[in-house]
C-alpha cells in the first residue's frame, strides 16, 4: 500500500545528480544562483509542455504539432497586441481559446474518425507552421510596446520580491504539514495503517528543507521567478488530474487496455478529446512563455519543441505506447534535458556536438530505463 521508490526512479535521479556534479566541476558558474535562476526559467516552459505531452502519451497518442502550434499561438498573441493594439490579457485569452478549439478538433478527429494521432498532428505541424508565418508575415513582432511590460512579457521576466518569496515558502510548508496530518487522519478513519509520527515528521522536514533552500538560492539573485510559480501550479494541477481524478485514471486505463476501458464504461472518445483540449491550453501557455522568453515572436519560435517535450517524457519513464508515466518522472526528464543544454552552452560547445550529445543521452536514458524495467518482474 505504500509506494516504493523503484530502482528506475532512483537511477534517473542519480543520473541527474551525476550530470550536475560533472557540470559544476567543469564550469564553476554552473551552480551560481544566477545560472540556477536561468535554468529554472528555461525549465519552466520545457517542463510545462512536457506535462501536456504526458497527457496525450498516457492514452497512447502523440502530438507532433505542439512546437509549431506554440509558435503560432505566440505569434497570434503578439500580432493582436502590437499590430491590433489589443490589451495583453484579452489577446492571450483569445489565443488560448483558439488553441483549445484547434486541439479539441484534432482530438475529435483522432477519437471519432480514428485517424492516427501521428498523422493528424504531423499534418497539424505543417499547417500551423504555414499559418504562423502568414500571421506574423515572417516578421519579428515584439511582445510589448517598447519598455512597457505587459502580462505577456512578464511571464518569464518577472520575479517575486524576496519577502514575498519567503512568505510563499512558509505558506507552502504549512500546507505540506496540513496535508500530512489530514492524510493520516483519513487513513486512520478508514482503518489503514498510518505512518509512525517520526516518518511523518521526516517527510515534513525534508519538504520544508527543499522549499526553503530553493527560495534562499533564488533570492540571492533576483528572487523566485514568476515562471517557476507557473510551473509549480501547472505541475500540481497535472499531478492531481492524473492521479486523483477519474479523468486521469481513464488516461492510464485507455493507454493500458482500450477495450477494457470501453467495457468499463470509460467514455474513451470524450477523454481523448479532453486530453487534447487540455494539451491545447498548455500549448498556448507554452507559446506565451516562449514568446516572452525571446521577447518577440519570430519564425523560428517553437522549432523542434515537440521533440524536446517527447524526449523529456520518455527520459522520465513515460511509455510511448501508453499507460505508463507520471508527472514527477517528466519533471526529472525535463530537468535532465535543460541541464544538459545549459551546461553545454556554458562550455560553448558547438551546435554539432550538442546535437550528437543530445541524441546519445536520449538513447542512453531510454536504454537504462528499458534495462532496469526488464530486471523487475513484468
Amino acid at each position: 500500500m505504500t509506494k516504493k521508490i523503484s530502482l528506475r526512479d532512483f537511477s534517473m535521479v542519480a543520473g541527474l545528480l551525476l550530470i550536475w556534479i560533472f557540470f559544476s566541476m567543469v564550469e564553476p558558474n554552473f551552480l551560481s544562483s544566477r545560472n540556477l535562476t536561468m535554468m529554472a526559467i528555461r525549465l519552466s516552459f520545457t517542463a510545462i509542455l512536457a506535462f501536456g505531452m504526458l497527457l496525450v502519451l498516457l492514452p497512447g497518442q502523440i502530438d507532433l504539432s505542439v512546437g509549431s502550434g506554440a509558435g503560432m499561438i505566440g505569434g497570434i498573441t503578439c500580432v493582436l497586441i502590437i499590430n491590433q493594439g489589443w490589451g495583453a490579457g484579452s489577446s492571450m485569452l483569445v489565443a488560448l481559446l483558439i488553441a483549445i478549439g484547434l486541439w479539441a478538433l484534432m482530438g475529435a478527429l483522432i477519437a471519432f474518425q480514428r485517424i492516427p494521432a501521428f498523422i493528424i498532428t504531423l499534418g497539424g505541424m505543417l499547417v500551423y507552421r504555414g499559418l504562423f508565418w502568414r500571421v506574423i508575415e515572417s516578421k519579428t513582432i515584439p511582445v510589448q510596446h517598447g519598455d512597457q511590460a505587459n502580462l505577456l512579457s512578464m511571464l518569464t521576466t518577472e520575479y517575486l520580491s524576496k519577502g514575498l518569496g519567503y512568505v510563499l515558502a512558509g505558506i507552502l510548508s504549512i500546507l505540506v504539514l496540513l496535508a500530512i496530518i489530514k492524510g493520516n487522519r483519513q487513513r486512520a478513519k478508514h482503518g489503514f495503517e498510518v505512518d509512525p509520527w517520526h516518518i511523518s515528521f521526516l517527510k515534513f522536514f525534508i519538504a520544508t528543507q527543499v522549499i526553503f533552500l530553493f527560495a534562499i538560492n533564488m533570492n540571492q539573485y533576483q528572487g523566485i521567478p514568476l515562471a517557476i510559480i507557473i510551473l509549480c501550479i501547472v505541475g500540481f494541477l497535472i499531478y492531481v488530474i492524473t492521479t486523483h481524478t477519474p479523468f486521469g485514471r481513464y488516461l492510464y486505463a485507455i493507454g493500458g487496455n482500450v477495450e477494457a476501458a470501453v467495457l468499463s464504461g470509460v467514455p474513451v472518445n470524450r477523454v481523448i478529446i479532453g486530453a487534447f483540449a487540455l494539451l491545447g491550453a498548455i500549448v498556448a501557455l507554452t507559446g506565451f512563455m516562449a514568446a516572452s522568453y525571446q521577447g518577440s515572436s519570430s519564425t523560428t519560435v517553437g522549432n523542434l519543441m515537440e521533440l524536446d517535450a517527447i524526449a523529456a517524457c520518455v527520459i522520465g519513464g513515460t511509455s510511448l505506447v501508453g499507460g505508463r508515466g507520471n508527472v514527477l518522472g517528466v519533471l526529472v526528464g525535463s530537468l535532465i534535458m535543460v541541464t544538459l543544454l545549459n551546461g553545454m552552452e556554458l562550455m560553448s560547445i558547438n551546435e554539432m556536438d550538442q546535437m550528437v550529445a543530445r541524441g546519445l543521452v536520449l538513447i542512453m536514458a531510454v536504454w537504462l530505463d528499458v534495462f532496469l524495467s526488464r530486471k523487475k518482474a513484468r
Partner: protein, 513 residues
C-alpha cells in the same frame, strides 16, 4: 427456488448481421427474475454476439428486433446505458487494465469522488470489503498483471458484482479457471441467485451448466433452437440440439501400441529469470511414437512452462537434457524446435497463435514457409496454396476460403487454423496446450479425431488439459505436475479423479523455494 415467473428481460426476434455473416437470426428468449439461464451452442452460434447486444456494445440500431427490460423497450447507445438499466457483464476476453491495481480496476469507470477528486481511501477499503465478501485472499493494491489468469477472472467477476446490478451476464467465465476457482464462482452465483439477481450464463462445460441453471436456451447457427427446463433435461439432449446430431462417444480415443521413444526428457530444472524463481524441478519423462501423454495439474503447476521451455520459448535451463528422435535437442528458439520436428499449439490462440489481421492461408503456412521455396529463397505460391487447401479441407475449417481474415472466425475455427499451422510443419512430436479451450462439442470431437490420426501415423502427442474428463479420456498415460514437480504418473484407466487431485496437491506449500 426464487423464480417468480416475472419476466424482466425479453429479447424479441433479434437479428444481427456482420458483413457476410448473419450472427443472430430472429433470436428470441426471455429471462425470469432470479433465475440462472444458460446459453449453449457451438462456436460461432452467436452467444457472445447476443451478450454484446444486451450490453450495449452493439448499439441500438445496429441490429433488428427489440430488447425489452421490465416491459419497456431498451435503447442502448453504449455500455453505460446498459449499466444504468441494471446490467453487468463479464466478457469472454478479459476486460482488465493489467498495469493497474485490483482496486483501481474494480472502480474503473465508477470512481467515488469528492468535488471531482477521487477518494482513494474509499476505493481501497471498499475493494478490501468486496474481496473479503467473496472469499478472495488478494491485496487490493496488487497489480492485476501480476496475478494468474484465474485470479484475474475472479477479479473481473468481483468488479461486475461491485456495481450491484440486477442482471449479470457471464460469457464463459470459467474457461480459464481451475476446479477450485470454478467452485468459488459457482458458489458466488448460487449466492446471488438467492439474493434475487438474475444471471445469464454461457459455458461449453455442460456439467457446470447443469449444476447451476434453471433453464437452458440453445442457439444453433444464429437461431434460437429451443429453451429447456434444466431439471427436465440432460446433457445428451442439449448436445443433440447444439450440433443437430447425436454424439455417441465423448472421448473417442483409439489407443495404438507405442513404438520407440520420440521425446526423452531427463532431470530438467528450469529457472525463470524475470520472476526470479525456479519453476521446474527434476522433470523426467518420455513419449513414444503413437502415444498420447497427458499433463494434468492445478493452474500454475508449470505445465505450460514445461512445454514452452522444451519448445525453446521460455526460461533458462539450469540442467537436464532433452532428446528428440534420438538426437539431443537444445532449443533456444522455437525456430530450432520446429526445424527438428517439434511443434506447439499454445493455450491462448488469439495472443500466441494467430495473426488476426491476416488471412487463413497466411496463418496456416507461416511456420512452414521453408518447405515451399524455389531457388532457395522465393516462395512458390502455387505449391503453398495447394498445401493450404489440403489442410483447410481436411480439417473442415468453416470459412468462405483461404483469403478470409482469421480475426472474423469463431473460436473453434480459429483453433483449427492454429492446428493446421502446426501440422503443416510435419512434426514428429506435437504439444497441444488446452487444445479444446472454448471450443464446442462438435469441434472438440474433430480435434480428438485428429489426435487419433496423428498417433495412427506414428507421431507422438503431448496433451496439456485442465479438464479432468478430457485428460483421462484422451491420454494413454498421464503425468500430474504439482508446483513444478512431478506429482504422480498414471496409466489409462488406472486413475480415479481423487488420486489425481492428491498428486496435484503433493508439493503444495513446499514447492518453489
Amino acid at each position: 427456488m426464487s423464480s417468480s415467473h416475472k419476466i424482466i428481460l425479453q429479447v424479441d426476434r433479434l437479428t444481427k448481421t456482420f458483413p457476410g455473416v448473419r450472427a443472430l437470426n430472429q433470436v428470441s428468449f426471455d429471462l425470469r427474475e432470479g433465475e440462472v439461464h444458460s446459453l449453449c451452442g457451438e462456436n460461432g452460434a452467436g452467444k457472445s454476439t447476443l451478450i454484446k447486444c444486451l450490453s450495449g456494445i452493439w448499439t441500438h440500431g445496429s441490429y433488428d428486433g427489440t430488447i425489452k427490460i421490465d416491459g419497456k423497450e431498451a435503447v442502448f447507445n453504449g455500455v453505460s446505458d446498459s449499466e444504468h438499466a441494471g446490467i453487468a457483464v463479464i466478457y469472454q476476453e478479459l476486460a482488465l487494465v493489467k498495469e493497474m491495481t485490483i482496486a483501481e480496476n474494480i472502480f474503473l469507470g465508477n470512481e467515488p469522488t469528492v468535488a471531482g477528486i477521487i477518494d482513494w481511501n474509499i476505493v481501497f477499503s471498499e475493494t478490501r470489503k468486496l474481496l473479503d465478501r467473496y472469499g478472495l485472499k488478494l491485496d487490493p493494491a496488487s497489480v492485476v498483471g501480476d496475478l494468474g489468469v484465474g485470479q484475474q477472472q475472479l477479479v473481473e467477476i468481483v468488479k461486475a458484482l461491485s456495481k450491484n446490478r440486477k442482471i449479470l451476464l457471464l460469457d464463459e467465465p470459467t474457461a480459464a479457471l481451475t476446479e477450485t476457482e470454478v467452485e468459488i464462482l459457482l458458489n458466488i452465483i448460487w449466492d446471488l441467485r438467492k439474493k434475487g439477481i438474475t444471471c445469464v450464463y454461457i459455458s461449453h462445460k455442460l456439467d457446470e451448466v447443469f449444476a447451476i441453471s434453471d433453464r437452458i436456451t440453445i442457439l444453433r447457427d444464429g437461431e434460437s433452437v429451443t429453451t429447456l427446463e434444466a431439471s427436465a433435461s440432460n446433457k445428451h439432449e442439449v448436445i443433440k440440439h447444439m450440433v443437430g446430431r447425436e454424439i455417441t462417444q465423448l472421448f473417442p480415443r483409439r489407443p495404438t501400441t507405442p513404438g520407440k521413444p520420440l521425446l526423452e526428457v531427463t532431470n530438467l530444472n528450469v529457472y525463470d529469470d524475470q520472476n526470479d524463481k525456479k519453476i521446474l524441478h527434476d522433470i523426467s519423462f518420455e513419449v513414444k511414437a503413437g502415444e498420447v501423454l497427458g499433463f494434468g495439474g492445478l493452474m500454475g503447476a508449470g505445465r505450460t512452462e514445461l512445454i514452452m521451455h522444451i519448445f525453446g520459448a521460455y526460461g533458462r535451463r539450469m540442467n537436464g537434457n532433452v532428446m528428440l528422435n534420438g538426437k539431443s535437442l537444445d532449443a533456444t528458439t522455437p525456430a530450432k524446435s520446429i526445424a527438428s520436428g517439434l511443434m506447439l499449439v499454445s493455450e491462448d490462440r488469439k495472443r500466441y497463435g494467430l495473426i488476426l489481421d491476416q488471412s487463413i492461408g497466411f496463418n496456416q503456412s507461416l511456420a512452414s514457409l521453408g518447405s515451399f521455396l524455389t531457388l532457395g529463397m522465393f516462395i512458390d505460391g502455387n505449391r503453398e496454396v495447394k498445401k493450404n487447401w489440403e489442410f483447410f479441407k481436411s480439417l473442415r475449417v468453416k470459412a468462405p476460403g483461404l483469403d478470409s481474415v482469421v480475426g472474423g472466425l469463431s473460436g473453434g475455427n480459429q483453433q483449427k487454423v492454429v492446428i493446421a499451422k502446426a501440422l503443416m510443419t510435419g512434426p514428429s512430436v506435437i504439444f497441444l496446450d488446452e487444445p479444446t479451450r472454448g471450443i464446442d462439442v462438435g469441434a472438440k470431437q474433430e480435434v480428438y479425431e485428429l489426435m487419433n490420426l496423428l498417433t495412427d501415423s506414428g507421431k507422438a502427442v503431448v496433451l496439456v488439459s485442465s479438464e479432468m474428463p478430457e485428460l483421462m479420456g484422451m491420454s494413454d498415460r498421464m503425468i500430474i505436475l504439482s508446483e513444478g514437480h512431478i506429482g504422480g504418473e498414471f496409466k489409462r484407466g488406472e486413475a480415479e479423479q481423487h488420486n489425481m487431485l492428491e498428486a496435484a496437491m503433493k508439493f503444495h506449500g513446499k514447492g518453489n523455494a
